[in-house]
């Protein structure tokens, strides 16, 4: 579905949640972008690289039953929008949980997983998925 470089160049964000913060207003952007949508040109030169800590809560979710060909083996799978603690929202899959146990508001943490591959002999690529945060003790 994608050539290698097209995926590889996004690895800093897909592996390590590299983001940008506007040091003019404090707003965080993921994936990184060159200019703040609030401050516009006042943000130029003030967009700082940060990394999201990886935790947040489920904002909305669905269970996907009709999937593109490269997700055929996974279905049904859970897709979530997660509101990260830094305030930005991400879309990915939620794993290690039964579809019936997913709730809006549940705490989740990003984890590195296999996302797909370029056909049976192609490069495998990885990125974040989410898993429930287990309560200690």
């Amino acid at each position: 579905m994608m050539v290698t470089a097209r995926f590889w160049r996004e690895n800093p964000s897909r592996y390590n949640l590299a983001a940008k913060r506007c040091n003019n207003c404090g707003k965080v952007f993921f994936p990184p972008r060159a200019v703040c949508s609030v401050c516009h040109r006042k943000s130029l030169g003030k967009m700082e690289c940060i990394h999201l800590k990886g935790e947040g809560e489920v904002y909305s979710f669905t269970v996907v039953h009709e999937a593109p060909s490269h997700f055929e083996m996974l279905k049904p799978y859970v897709v979530v929008m997660v509101k990260m603690d830094e305030g930005v929202m991400l879309t990915s899959q939620l794993i290690d949980v039964g579809a019936k146990d997913v709730r809006i508001g549940m705490r989740v943490r990003a984890t590195l997983r296999r996302l797909g591959e370029d056909g049976p002999a192609g490069v495998i690529y990885y990125g974040y998925k989410f898993a429930p945060v287990r309560q200690e003790g």
């Binding site: 269970v63 039953h65 879309t91 990125g127 998925k129």
Partner: protein
């Protein structure tokens, strides 16, 4: 800016048109519109074509030139332009044609929209449809286009108490309307229970919550109002055209239970037309999924936020209700050949405002609105038409 009128309309049946190619349907709709307006080719100043993804559906780009060629306009070297804004391609093509006439650049233009989706299978069609969303940051992670709308539905249910039954009722109503439209892809009524127990696509949405993959085309002829009476006794005035954008990815928004671009475009359209929601008798809205219609009727200002589901369940948006929504059957039952959809909405409104909509006629319709959406609300075009 000059006043602009619709003086001709044409469309094909929507559905799985296996015996017709992209150029066949494009020409069929275009010629019907030109014939309806009683034009000759030399009078056409320009052609605008709405199309989302011919490159992926039929491996053909440069489709405006293709349509100009097969409609005979290339021989006159008439300029032809393709417009792409995913699901809003047709509505945006209409807007570009409108601007060209309103500005005084052209007097008469043809605006068409076409998509040929069934030359590829359903799995590939879903992938192509999903390219309207953010490919790199939504789709790669497994979010399909239905999945994104399912998450909108889930959140709307969570925040406003909208029920699964209320969402499903959109499909029941639109199939009932579609049963009255001889051009519709689905002309059969369905029961609420069938929608609820249909195979799931992306929970809570099932097969009957999703518009189908369709082939089809639609076209309209636009003319300056001053010249319109030479061609028709019943010109339909474009009272307003408005367009707005929002973030490409759904997750970049503060709130996914509204499409801000719909709200902004609707506000501007009402202001330009000097009208209010109560002045409108019918609306064609972008029900690519059932939940989308609930968002639309709220965001356009017809119902308060969170009341769209209740209003639908109580019949306020059905034929005979307070506001007739999607009398054509909508994308759900009429079909959704992506690039054609925004133009087909205008064709339906014009039929209603001319009083020629047959069994689905809204009695005394004077003002109609169309809302055409690209992606998950990243592009929205709102148009208001009225009887002169």
């Amino acid at each position: 800016m000059r006043d602009v009128a619709v003086i001709g309309i044409g469309d094909t049946k929507f559905g799985e048109l296996w015996d017709l190619s992209f150029r066949d349907i494009g020409i069929q709709a275009g010629l019907a519109a030109v014939e309806d307006a009683k034009l000759v080719a030399e009078e056409i100043d320009a052609l605008y074509v709405g199309n989302m993804s011919a490159g992926r559906f039929i491996d053909q780009e440069h489709v405006a030139a293709l349509i100009a060629d097969y409609s005979g306009l290339a021989r006159d070297n008439t300029p032809a332009t393709r417009i792409e804004a995913a699901g809003a391609s047709g509505g945006l093509a209409l807007r570009e044609g409108y601007l060209a006439v309103a500005s005084g650049m052209h007097d008469i233009v043809v605006v068409g929209g076409a998509e040929k989706m069934t030359d590829v299978g359903d799995v590939l069609a879903t992938e192509i449809q999903s390219s309207a969303a953010d490919q790199q940051w939504e789709v790669v992670f497994g979010a399909t286009f239905p999945a994104l709308h399912a998450m909108i539905a889930r959140r709307h249910m969570h925040e406003y108490g909208t029920t699964r039954e209320q969402i499903a009722q959109v499909a029941v109503k639109n199939h009932r309307h579609g049963a009255l439209n001889p051009k519709a892809q689905f002309q059969r009524e369905i029961e609420l229970a069938s929608v609820l127990k249909a195979p799931p696509v992306a929970e809570p949405l099932g097969v009957f919550d999703c518009a189908p993959f369709s082939d089809g085309a639609a076209a309209v002829v636009l003319c300056s109002m001053e010249k319109a009476r030479r061609y028709t006794d019943a010109p339909i005035r474009i009272a307003a055209s408005a367009q707005a954008s929002d973030t490409l990815a759904l997750h970049t928004r503060q709130d996914i239970t509204s499409f801000r671009a719909t709200q902004v475009a609707a506000r501007e359209a009402f202001k330009r037309a000097r009208k209010e929601p109560k002045d409108v008798q019918l609306a064609e809205v972008h029900d690519n999924f059932t939940i989308s219609e609930i968002l639309a009727i709220e965001d356009l200002g017809f119902f308060p936020k969170g009341q769209g589901g209740r209003a639908t369940m109580e019949g306020e948006t059905a034929l005979g209700g307070k506001l007739a929504v999607n009398t054509s059957g909508g994308l759900k039952a009429r079909g959704d050949p992506i690039g054609a959809t925004g133009v087909a909405q205008i064709v339906e409104l014009v039929q209603q405002l001319r009083g020629t909509a047959g069994k689905r006629q809204v009695p005394g319709a004077k003002v109609g609105m169309a809302q055409n959406v690209g992606g998950t609300g990243a592009t929205v075009v709102v148009t208001i038409l009225e009887v002169v």
